[in-house]
Subunit: 346 residues, 4 copies
Amino acid sequence: MQTKEVHYSDYLQLDKILDAQTPESDLNGHPAHDEMLFIIIHQAYELWFKQILFEIDSVAAIMSQKVINDNSPDLQTIVHRLERIGVILKVAVHQIDIMETMTPMDFLDFRDFLRPASGFQSWQFKIAEAKLGLQFPERHGQEYYISQLRREHVDMIKSVEQQPSLLDLVDQWLGRMPFFEQPEHWKNYRALYPETPGKHPFWSDYSVIYANSLVEGEKANLAHFERLFFEKERSPERRLSAAACRSALFIMLYRGYPMLQLPFRLLNSLLEIDEQLSTWRYRHMSMVTRMIGLRTGTGGSSGRDYLKGALDKHYIFREIAALSSYLIERRRLPVLNREVEAQLGF
Amino acid sequence: MQTKEVHYSDYLQLDKILDAQTPESDLNGHPAHDEMLFIIIHQAYELWFKQILFEIDSVAAIMSQKVINDNSPDLQTIVHRLERIGVILKVAVHQIDIMETMTPMDFLDFRDFLRPASGFQSWQFKIAEAKLGLQFPERHGQEYYISQLRREHVDMIKSVEQQPSLLDLVDQWLGRMPFFEQPEHWKNYRALYPETPGKHPFWSDYSVIYANSLVEGEKANLAHFERLFFEKERSPERRLSAAACRSALFIMLYRGYPMLQLPFRLLNSLLEIDEQLSTWRYRHMSMVTRMIGLRTGTGGSSGRDYLKGALDKHYIFREIAALSSYLIERRRLPVLNREVEAQLGF
Amino acid sequence: MQTKEVHYSDYLQLDKILDAQTPESDLNGHPAHDEMLFIIIHQAYELWFKQILFEIDSVAAIMSQKVINDNSPDLQTIVHRLERIGVILKVAVHQIDIMETMTPMDFLDFRDFLRPASGFQSWQFKIAEAKLGLQFPERHGQEYYISQLRREHVDMIKSVEQQPSLLDLVDQWLGRMPFFEQPEHWKNYRALYPETPGKHPFWSDYSVIYANSLVEGEKANLAHFERLFFEKERSPERRLSAAACRSALFIMLYRGYPMLQLPFRLLNSLLEIDEQLSTWRYRHMSMVTRMIGLRTGTGGSSGRDYLKGALDKHYIFREIAALSSYLIERRRLPVLNREVEAQLGF
Amino acid sequence: MQTKEVHYSDYLQLDKILDAQTPESDLNGHPAHDEMLFIIIHQAYELWFKQILFEIDSVAAIMSQKVINDNSPDLQTIVHRLERIGVILKVAVHQIDIMETMTPMDFLDFRDFLRPASGFQSWQFKIAEAKLGLQFPERHGQEYYISQLRREHVDMIKSVEQQPSLLDLVDQWLGRMPFFEQPEHWKNYRALYPETPGKHPFWSDYSVIYANSLVEGEKANLAHFERLFFEKERSPERRLSAAACRSALFIMLYRGYPMLQLPFRLLNSLLEIDEQLSTWRYRHMSMVTRMIGLRTGTGGSSGRDYLKGALDKHYIFREIAALSSYLIERRRLPVLNREVEAQLGF
């Protein structure tokens, strides 16, 4: 145990934290009461972004191992931390309620003093997006966004984009899953339908059941299904391999088996992160609209339009979310043979 | 005081409320556990929609009076009830968290039994939108939405659309405001700039100040400003008259005066309703995407696309929201003369 | 698939749900606007209580099996549904925000018409408490609470109290856990300290480590520790056996192992339910205080005092919560031998 | 407008904010992942406490004026800022969800390194309580709490306690209200009951109506009523004078009148602050219980017991909350005469 005594104020370095608010409106001789709120809420956001980055890094470190040992706490730790990111983002969304206690007129009182600073300059947020898996070509308004950032921050983000992102690590982890690779476990699997050449008997059956489940107006999905799960070479626009998609779908379908529990929660936590990020962007956009209407943002952006553009494009785990289109009802699922079941249980 | 004794169960008619859940999956011989949740959450939503309609009706009744007496509790009552609708909608948004405890596989277990029922058939919600001010031509996917509803419900909605909506009543109330109509109060107003013909001296000044406030890239807003606040005849697409817009802007600018307090909160509560409705639609859309992916909704809609279409179009009070583009900084506001100030105080 | 077409309104039985609101103030000729809200919010609560009962029953049915097969989806299903109850309770807590839009004066307008009805007459809530594990002698204000309920509801609750509660089922499930019963798995366990007679070598070690971890002022905890985990006969006031407590503590300590993941989440979901129930009671009490002050409740209770009394007494899973006092740091944990580890992994 | 360009990172002083996290577990050579979360959440709390202090100070400055001009934006500003504090506290409560993603075992990993630091050493929170109106003799565990703080912080708190608190300022503001002081406005008031000597005719009537409203078991309230509203000299334990209580009750009763709108919301915002503070303390206590059970807190306190003790005692505006016991139904209210009504309207 340590010998030195720890004091709350020193431990939290409150001298720094509480001495970091200098309203521009004061410096400019037109003190505007609400600028303090504006500063503090953004600082609170940046603290949470730091925490989110810390969690992403720790998760990526574990997932970068060659093998994630199913008998270690690794998977549980990963899931726990990804779920925590979801909880933090929920509070971040809620925090917008505080910002909304500032009315447009109150914002106007100091808005001009901030130019050209802008929330787009939050490099921590951009790095978090990049570490999760957002890539430069997918970003909305690429040039604008680059122009806003300092050289050093652009470099940091670009360097992050060169590393494997969480999405890449998830793709690799899913692609490595050995369910279908071990023919000995499947030899007693009872195929329901004639085998399709080139497909594992399980997926051969699944394809037929899925095709039968499509109602009028959904028939076109079949082609997507074939491409998504069985294309030989990965299409350039895809972030998940066909093998990874098959693993992910299998996890969703048979999540009741103990061994698939944590993998299922891992996938779910990624969707939760995307959903909370997206809710955050949406509420942020609504708030900005309410605040500045059609006016130009302090950083010179067209405000609402930029945010709106990012809404649809910035879903990072959309290929995982899309898989729910290809599920079938539990009661039509192929029954697994005992050897496979044994692999999925304790 | 009443003589009959009241009992909780009778008072709440729990025999009806708690006996209104009959899962289709049971009737079809494939009981699916999560269908109970699906029924109950929709019933909870419908209860809240009933309450929201009840509040809208009561507010509309007060606002339909020829004059809203500033010395009566009328305005306070209106604001209180509109703010309550906002609080209800926040809980409605939160309630989606409960729905999200149902996974896509759990939904699939009973989804097919529900066809062609669909959430689009919630006539209470459609009526609420209509009472607030959404009109048929503004609705996304008009034919589809009509095709989903029963004749009787379509008739109800159409009949509501014929009545003055809350938005219409707000337009009339704003249009009636007497701030600028009484020349005697303004005779000591000190104009800052040469008068613009056809404009009240206050607005003549305001136009110049506003024009000066525009930064590079915003100059085009000036034409919008002129049209919005000073057009002689109402453009057919507008829901608020120029006079109503002037009143609303004046309220936002001078909300510090006691008499403008409640009017300001009234406008704000409308924006809050729109924002919560919009958040609800957005999270609903995200949830549906997560649940059924690209598949067809139980009512045959293209699911996500429909909901996405409605997102942008269904802002009911958007003309009020847009006014924040035309605010100017408090320290540049024209100073009101004493006679006008007296009108705005006690 | 079903042949009959399903319609939203019929499916949800909206004719019943939306026709179940009859304000007493209307019947008494003094219509009070806010009574509608009062009715609807209580009905929404009762819907959610029905759902909670439905989930508890389904969980209890699974847990009542002689053996919960670790290779079946049973445990995952139990955890999923208990966590859902937690999510529902969070919304129930949030719903109090809606109630708080009713001011004391608005409530007074119809309060007297409701006597002697009272929220204490919600038999669904009382049954939920009983099914979770609350027993009559632990209830605050027993006679009062009985006097409020109808004979039939008292009988229902009493009959529930005769059945094994969720707490009892958890006790049995924990008590059945075989970790320490199989001497062959532990034969290579390396004891750190001399064995204590009558204790398994693991617990013998643990007792010493725990004793060493106590700081000044905590020494008295040691006697509690011994009694809680090692008493031979169950003290009459205890709801968990010593063996169950040992299993629960082991689960908390070694939750990183795959096999203990779901058991850990199960325990956690029970604490979450207790915490949300308790938050609900607390916010409910605060709201009642704000609403009626020191006055007598409509059912004749002393309002706030009753609710306050229930706060502390009604923690159902408190014996599980209390176990966190007896944890030790991860880095001081006894290292498990390979044979035991193998039992806890896939 | 400023000439210097502002950049987001400089403006928010992110170099300080993001460089203020140094986990003790790292320094001690046993890095514990969750300590980062522990630091950051407390820093986020401290940022919000700073904001709350900033708002309280600004409100107190306005309320310290000899007269609050009803025709100025003063009252609106006060209410707006107090309501903002309520919104901030709601997010602070929600933030506990994040803390709860840390399990007891994760906390144990670094808990011992923090001794004797403790959340009780948050002097900002203690100062906020003092500025709102909590006084030393009302604090739970006075000596303990003093012993935890640094000399300089104790001095700061003591010095704040010497200043008029928000509660004192509210008492003075309520006591100054002129409703009943101007006999000329009341001369046409029609008394319903024979006058009580020493009471204003309005209060004379009100006393009779209130007495009649009491049901069996509430009769004892009458003595409280007389003392609370009509005692000649202020009892030493009271924070509000009888005159202030009469004003506050009058505001609650007749809040429909425009002039009482903002005063009513002001009183309500104080109760909301108390309720959120109390919810925060309650959830904090629940979390600590879940985290450390019966063990001693890092600062040496008995953890849960301290927090529990503070729960009941630290209601700052309880004398205002208690007034709702003395309301009567709207339809039994004395009708005000025209001259008084004119004072309460525009």
